[in-house]
């Protein structure tokens, strides 16, 4: 019953409780980061025309609506095969996979301008679970229409391919982090990566930015437990590397944090068991 209610509550037209904006292609004024938004890149966002580009006709995307999702609610569920593609306008969300026994892995944090589950555009894959971290406003496009538009225009299509490849690169980096890096490295890298992404959106001021994540969400993103996240973050704090207060994070010592993130164990025992084999063959 619970899951059925979940699915239903996010289907457009079925919303009981959300602030449903007018169904016109128009950027909500709250959307401060349209400059980075994929919708803008793709010229889908009528309110945010690209300055350099002088196409007078807007793209023929008929159906698009803005809606608001409260914090911690499901935005899209893998079991529902939605006919909509969602773009985050404001707020944070997570894209995750849940195993039947409760373990879960967050694949990425979605920030304003990010698209939720681009994969859904082409294949009827059962996508990841998307959940709101904070209150989220987002725009939905009809999948078939968006797909038709994107496939029809070559410049947009290249943009799509680039986005797809960028996402893949991020996924690969995540795999390296989870497979081969320690807890300290994972956490410092997570913080620095979020800083970079937020900086691109102009959301970092003097090394301080909003940080609405709960520690169990950080744990799910880094493959650790909430307890261990607390301990490592506590160490970071005691070492005056970072400060977390009132849901915002300040990087006090960027240099040292970076050093931890990129640490190479100089006397690296890890490499010992294969250094020989990796280099020699190509010399013959």
């Amino acid at each position: 019953l619970a899951s059925a209610a979940q699915v239903r509550s996010t289907a457009p037209g079925m919303l009981r409780n959300s602030a449903y904006a007018d169904a016109v292609v128009q950027c909500p004024s709250a959307c401060s980061s349209c400059s980075n938004c994929l919708a803008r890149e793709l010229s889908l966002c009528a309110a945010a025309k690209k300055p350099g580009v002088d196409r007078d006709q807007d793209l023929p995307v008929a159906w698009s609506s803005v809606q608001t999702i409260p914090a911690r609610r499901t935005i899209s569920h893998p079991s529902e095969w939605s006919e909509f593609i969602t773009i985050i306008c404001s707020g944070w969300a997570t894209s995750s996979v849940a195993l039947p026994d409760g373990r879960r892995q967050i694949l990425s944090f979605l920030l304003p301008g990010d698209i939720a589950s681009f994969a859904g555009l082409f294949e009827p894959v059962s996508g990841p679970l998307v959940e709101a971290v904070t209150d989220v406003t987002c725009r939905t496009f009809k999948r078939e229409e968006l797909r038709a538009v994107l496939l029809g225009r070559r410049d947009l299509l290249e943009k799509v391919a680039e986005t797809l490849i960028e996402e893949r690169k991020q996924a690969d980096e995540l795999a390296v982090d989870l497979g081969r890096r320690t807890a300290d490295e994972r956490l410092s890298r997570l913080i620095l990566k979020l800083r970079e992404r937020l900086a691109k959106r102009g959301m970092v001021h003097e090394e301080t930015f909003e940080f609405p994540l709960r520690q169990w969400q950080i744990a799910d993103a880094t493959g650790l437990t909430p307890v261990h996240v607390s301990k490592v973050l506590g160490e970071f704090h005691r070492a005056n590397l970072i400060e977390i207060k009132d849901r915002s994070l300040t990087i006090l010592n960027p240099v040292e944090l970076r050093r931890i993130a990129d640490r190479c164990r100089i006397n690296g025992h890890l490499s010992a068991h294969r250094t020989g084999s990796a280099n020699i063959p190509n010399l013959t």
Copy 2:
């Protein structure tokens, strides 16, 4: 010096030691799995026309050559920004990322018909490191030409997008494996996944298939150490789940192996710390 030699030795036209086939678009007879090959899907492979499709003109891909790479040699290196896209025709290869201190993560095993670093098609990213596991024969296409052809034909383009998305899904699954699964699960899943992929190529007979991987390669793919891989694989063997002999693997007990791969710790403590928060909000 060593790495410079590496890079050079794989650049087409610079090969000193490989069996360089004629530079005609023609599938080498050794390529037993063209039926699964992306080149065939994309109608690039002149020797393997799709049965249902009756296009008489072949695609205008001018430059394509077949070459042979000995086992354990580098096929493409991230530091070289190659102007070629490679497709594996026969043999196994790895796609991996190496950290400066020697740690390394294998992102995927490339089997016959797989493309090496599709990402290179669009963005000048520094791709992953591709290395031959066994002797490998592969075909290379000129990047710019391939790109032009693919972007120009809508049906091919959709195929490309689908491939990109499938790859991404694999990357996500890898992240879940590395972040949230135990050694037993990772190893059993790796074996089963390889079985599936090989089965699609008709390379599995009575649950037996070629398995040329060294244990340190398995370790790099699963985020473990070679020592631990040996121990777990030893357990699998002692439990009569699998048998590895002469570089080929037999799954003796597929049911039990599958059970390990999908194990859900029934009394799942892992889920305790968040079951409450995950479900309740959407009921309000």
